[in-house]
């Protein structure tokens, strides 16, 4: 609130060029207009749709990789090799390759997002599986649990703290990547998501729209962060599997 006040005062008092910084009031107008006209809403939806598809593919791939890696020796080696190679690679870096292979389509974006989220989730999931207390596994076997039932009833819930933090990191990576990819796409002339919206607004000097797009990105980020925290509070924190004060130790990665 204080920040918004200073921002408005700065724009009103110092006569800043509206082509550089839009005032909060203008941004608010653009934000509301964008959402009511559906322009911003459809851009956001498109972005979220592609992100969702990429996340779905990435999570499935991570689950498959990790399960294979947990059960076979060679799978573990392959997973370690792939994650150590692909995880440090800024996922936006493979966009040119994806465009080359899949054209300027949403498929290329989905592939890039899937790649961005697979590895952090796979790392966390395999860590989660490996750190399930051996006593708990023996209790499961003692109850006659085998195979899929064991995975569903013991391994998954026991690995839940790691699963959640993997999805959290995966989503953050995916979110950064898709916005960046759309900006590139915007330049290249395709797309239509949030990043594209921002880029296009810049092109037509609709500065308040640029800010409205940024605000939307920030709000979605905050909303999802809140959602994840809520999920953690209702599950792993309530069950004492993750301390309340414990912070996310996943190293940040620049895009």
């Amino acid at each position: 609130m204080v920040f918004v006040g200073i921002w408005q005062a700065y724009v009103s008092l110092f006569d800043v060029s509206p082509l550089l910084v839009a005032s909060p009031l203008d941004v608010g107008d653009s934000f509301i207009a964008g959402w009511t006209s559906g322009e911003l809403a459809s851009a956001t939806l498109l972005t979220l749709k592609i992100l969702g598809m990429g996340m779905a593919f990435g999570m499935t791939a991570a689950a498959v990789f990790t399960t294979v890696a947990t059960w076979t020796r060679i799978g573990e080696d392959v997973l370690v090799l792939l994650t150590s190679m692909l995880n440090p690679l800024p996922s936006i870096a493979i966009l040119p390759l994806a465009i080359l292979w899949f054209g300027l389509s949403s498929t290329a974006l989905v592939v890039v997002i899937a790649n961005a989220v697979t590895w952090p989730i796979a790392i966390n999931l395999s860590m989660g599986f490996r750190t399930v207390p051996s006593t708990l596994l023996m209790v499961g076997r003692n109850l006659g649990l085998r195979g899929a039932r064991m995975v569903k009833d013991v391994l998954m819930p026991a690995a839940l703290p790691h699963i959640i933090s993997g999805v959290k990191t995966g989503w953050a990576f995916g979110w950064r990547t898709i916005i960046a990819a759309e900006l590139v796409f915007g330049v290249a002339g395709g797309g239509g998501g949030l990043g594209f919206f921002i880029n296009e607004s810049r092109y037509f000097l609709r500065v308040p729209d640029v800010f409205a797009g940024l605000v939307t990105i920030a709000l979605i980020g905050i909303a999802l962060e809140t959602l994840f925290n809520l999920i953690e509070k209702k599950t792993v924190i309530k069950w004492g599997m993750k301390g309340e004060a414990e912070t996310d130790t996943t190293p940040a990665r620049s895009q």
């Binding site: 207390p133 006593t135 708990l136 023996m138 209790v139 076997r141 003692n142 109850l143 006659g144 649990l145 039932r149 009833d153 013991v154 819930p157 026991a158 839940l160 599950t235 309530k238 069950w239 004492g240 599997m241």
Partner: protein, 272 residues
């Protein structure tokens, strides 16, 4: 399901053992080399009996229990339970571990017990009712809705015992269940388990390194020796429940001697 022996019938002489451990040898493969953990163990347990496995660390007592539970396969000899050769872990041999993390942290006390019953084939209502009964029996009614992380170590072990008993197993396998508890909680739980076993005549195989615990809880004690592990002697201690009785003191001396002889061989074992 094999037929169960009536639990009250424990005084007849011509009965089959519930569990027969017959010249069992157990080893681990380490770098393709077989490390023998138990060289030769033989003993029998009859229905309703409380058999203690006593020995220093490294004597393979937990290893034997894990083999009976089905977690490890013997490399030699046979383990026969109620006429079947035991191969896989099944809830008919319910295990209580030493570790506190044996409870499912995402389930409440009541659900830890009820889930185990549901997953072994009881219907939902029956599972809930049975769980309630055993939770009450272990004095946990007030904590029924709590999660494991909200419980003390002693309470966690009570839940694990309630969960195992509720399964109505052929036998209870207890792997130093009180080993991580403070002395006071430990002796309280010993008394409770003693009472429950007197009342229900549940068959127990109990691993311990405490002579006092073995004497107080056991009917017979398998004394294991170290390096390499083998059965030293099987001692009848059924009369020695009262720590002040002469029999208890005599037997305690005897067990101490057995373990001390072994200790001289290996120099590192620790007993109370």
């Amino acid at each position: 399901m094999s037929e169960r022996l009536p639990k009250t019938n424990q005084a007849t002489s011509s009965r089959e053992p519930l569990l027969a451990v017959d010249h069992v040898q157990i080893g681990y493969n380490v770098d393709k080399k077989l490390n023998i953990a138990v060289r030769d163990a033989s003993f029998e347990i009859f229905a309703g009996e409380k058999m203690m496995l006593l020995g220093p660390s490294g004597s393979g007592k937990s290893t034997i229990l894990k083999a009976v539970a089905g977690f490890l396969k013997p490399v030699g000899g046979r383990i026969v339970i109620a006429g079947r050769e035991s191969l896989e872990p099944e809830p008919d041999r319910a295990v209580v571990f030493q570790e506190f993390d044996q409870l499912f942290p995402w389930r409440t006390v009541e659900d830890n017990v009820a889930y185990s019953l549901r997953v072994t084939g009881r219907d939902k209502r029956e599972a809930a009712a049975t769980a309630k009964r055993y939770i009450e029996m272990m004095g946990l009614s007030l904590a029924a809705d709590r999660y494991p992380h909200q419980l003390s170590g002693g309470m966690k072990q009570r839940v694990a015992i309630a969960r195992a008993l509720a399964l109505d197993p052929l036998m209870l396998l207890m792997d130093e269940p009180f080993g991580s508890l403070d002395a006071q909680t430990r002796s309280r739980l010993q008394r409770e388990v003693h009472e429950i076993s007197e009342r229900t005549h549940v068959t127990i195989l109990f691993v311990t390194h405490s002579i006092q615990e073995a004497l107080f809880l056991g009917d017979r004690v398998v004394v294991l020796a170290d390096a390499p592990s083998h059965v030293q002697e099987i001692v009848d201690v059924s009369g020695a429940d009262d720590p002040d009785s002469e029999e208890f003191i005599t037997l305690r001396r005897h067990l101490r001697q057995l373990l001390a002889e072994d200790e001289q061989d290996v120099h590192h074992a620790v007993f109370e």
